[in-house]
Symmetry: C2
């Protein structure tokens, strides 16, 4: 029951006005004389007055809190999204209530419950895969945006990345730089991201003229460095011919790079290596540095924040899945 800081009443008293006037003055409403506004301001300053948002939200109905529900805080995805969102919200003075369900439905339900208790103004649901997730439905009375992992309901608003386009871009880059035979090392078969990218590669092949046409072969596996290494070794062992490798994550690429080094295959001369995620940590200091697709996650977070801000203001959220194009960051691993 701690109640230390000064309240509006204190400010009002010191300024010699009523609480109502003080409130108006501090909230920059027109109906206050400039002189009194100043007096109130000074009083507030002097008392180090800080609005009590709990109290304020009780009367305004807004908390200034946005919930962020994630399933993989540890992973590569949530964080950049979160930071982008924080940026975009920052201006509006909204803060982010964080919770990590860790892929557990029970946990998720509990966290959602606290969100409701806290009367959050809006919710961002972030996932680490592009496979659609169960919708939270429309029974919540705050706007919800799904980021990266889209909702399976088309009535919801989802923001994600166009992996087909991303695959296309990588294939294009490799073809343009003279590669012709591509080994595609990816995640699990059935994983949307993996399959979309493969489709993107195919799409490029279909569209490109004969001189740029490349052959490719896709190996499904798992999202790990270990898999990248063994897939590369396997291909070498089987005598598969290739002059380029597309790895569906930077981790996979690191594994592949390692395998090539061990087998004396030089990168980028004998084989180009390109990957997805553009995780600086893994990609920038690799030898050679790895060309990688940046998923623009922070941008996704910013977009989500903007949409939600608007939604709080009354603009309805645009339903459906909205895809953003990723962009290729070229580094030494594909340039000979």
């Amino acid at each position: 029951m701690r109640r230390p800081s000064s309240k509006l009443a204190d400010v009002a008293k010191l300024a010699g006005v009523s609480v109502a006037t003080a409130s108006k003055a501090l909230n920059d409403r027109k109906e206050v004389a400039p002189s009194t506004r100043l007096r109130v301001r000074e009083a507030a300053q002097q008392l180090a007055f800080v609005h009590n948002r709990q109290a304020r939200s009780l009367s305004t109905g807004r908390t200034g809190i946005v919930g962020l529900l994630t399933s993989d805080l540890e992973g590569r995805f949530s964080l950049p999204i979160l930071m982008g969102a924080e940026d975009a919200f920052g201006a509006e003075q909204t803060s982010i209530l964080l919770s990590d369900a860790r892929g557990d439905a029970v946990r998720e339900a509990r966290h959602l419950d606290t969100f409701v208790q806290q009367r959050i103004d809006a919710l961002m649901v972030v996932g680490s895969r592009t496979d659609p997730r169960r919708s939270l439905g429309s029974s919540y009375d705050f706007p919800i945006v799904y980021v990266y992992t889209p909702s399976e309901s088309s009535a919801d608003c989802s923001l994600t990345i166009d992996n087909v386009d991303a695959g296309f871009k990588v294939a294009e880059h490799l073809a343009m730089t003279g590669r012709r035979r591509v080994l595609h090392i990816t995640g699990p078969l059935g994983d949307t991201a993996a399959m979309d990218r493969a489709r993107g590669i195919d799409a490029f092949i279909a569209e490109s003229d004969a001189s740029l046409r490349l052959g490719h072969r896709t190996n499904y596996g798992e999202w790990s460095e270990r898999w990248g290494r063994s897939a590369a070794l396997m291909a070498i062992g089987q005598g598969v011919e290739f002059d380029a490798v597309i790895c569906d994550s930077d981790q996979i690429a690191r594994g592949a790079l390692d395998a090539f080094a061990a087998r004396g295959i030089t990168v980028p001369d004998e084989a180009a290596v390109a990957s997805f995620d553009n995780w600086e940590l893994l990609v920038a200091d690799a030898s050679p540095p790895i060309t990688s697709v940046d998923m623009k996650l922070a941008e996704l977070g910013r977009q989500a924040a903007r949409l939600l801000t608007d939604a709080i203001g009354g603009t309805p959220l645009p339903a459906g899945v909205h895809e953003t194009n990723a962009s290729l960051v070229v580094r030494g691993s594909t340039l000979r």
Copy 2:
């Protein structure tokens, strides 16, 4: 001004009791007849009633919100700490308001301000280095714990890792497994973590009997894979003799490993490699997997949460810097 969900008054009416009784019933207070408690419960259930924390906190003085102020969300440190804390706070009771100052003092001040406005119950200040940071002072009316990065004021409560002990442990492990000449590749000279670990190594040497005594040489540089690689190459080029390398981060170790592979030095046979951070991503799938010191960050977060929970309950925070011992996770890079 959205006001959708049912309120306590609705529940009370439906249950045929007063609001006060309904409140008591839902809060599991003794002074309510079991039968009425049940009736109220059912009414609440039926109306899908959810407490409004804003309102509640207005009368209790507690918000159930803990602030987390970090300077490097992206980095390796904040996240595990955050997750540990989330665990310990238990989602039902406390939620975490997140903010990343990104090393910017202005941003930090702004975020602190919103924290105050939100009337958080407690604050966790997390940093990514072990060099002390400026104290936030004692003018805030909520308890503050500094995690990983300690406060420079001994009046504050800080939780961090004992890097001297960590350095000691690594040296001990290497000596016990038969290594005698250690190359220590670390971060910037002046960085507390780097220097503490060097001291730990020295401490081990001083304490150990002659048969285990090892020689070592410390190279200060930066916290990057690139530096690990070049430091290793440099040592090799200069003909420095060593049969073990201690890298002060997993990233540095990856660089060193890479350099050894390039120069045909086998790990662990010709040289052992050990590092700090135990970042699964970097360490588990390396070839060979890297022995690394786990900083127990999640545990640090849990401890902080417990201390803060107690502090909210009235127990004063223990002032001073409290160090936790890290633990060594042994993998293939040091076992021949």
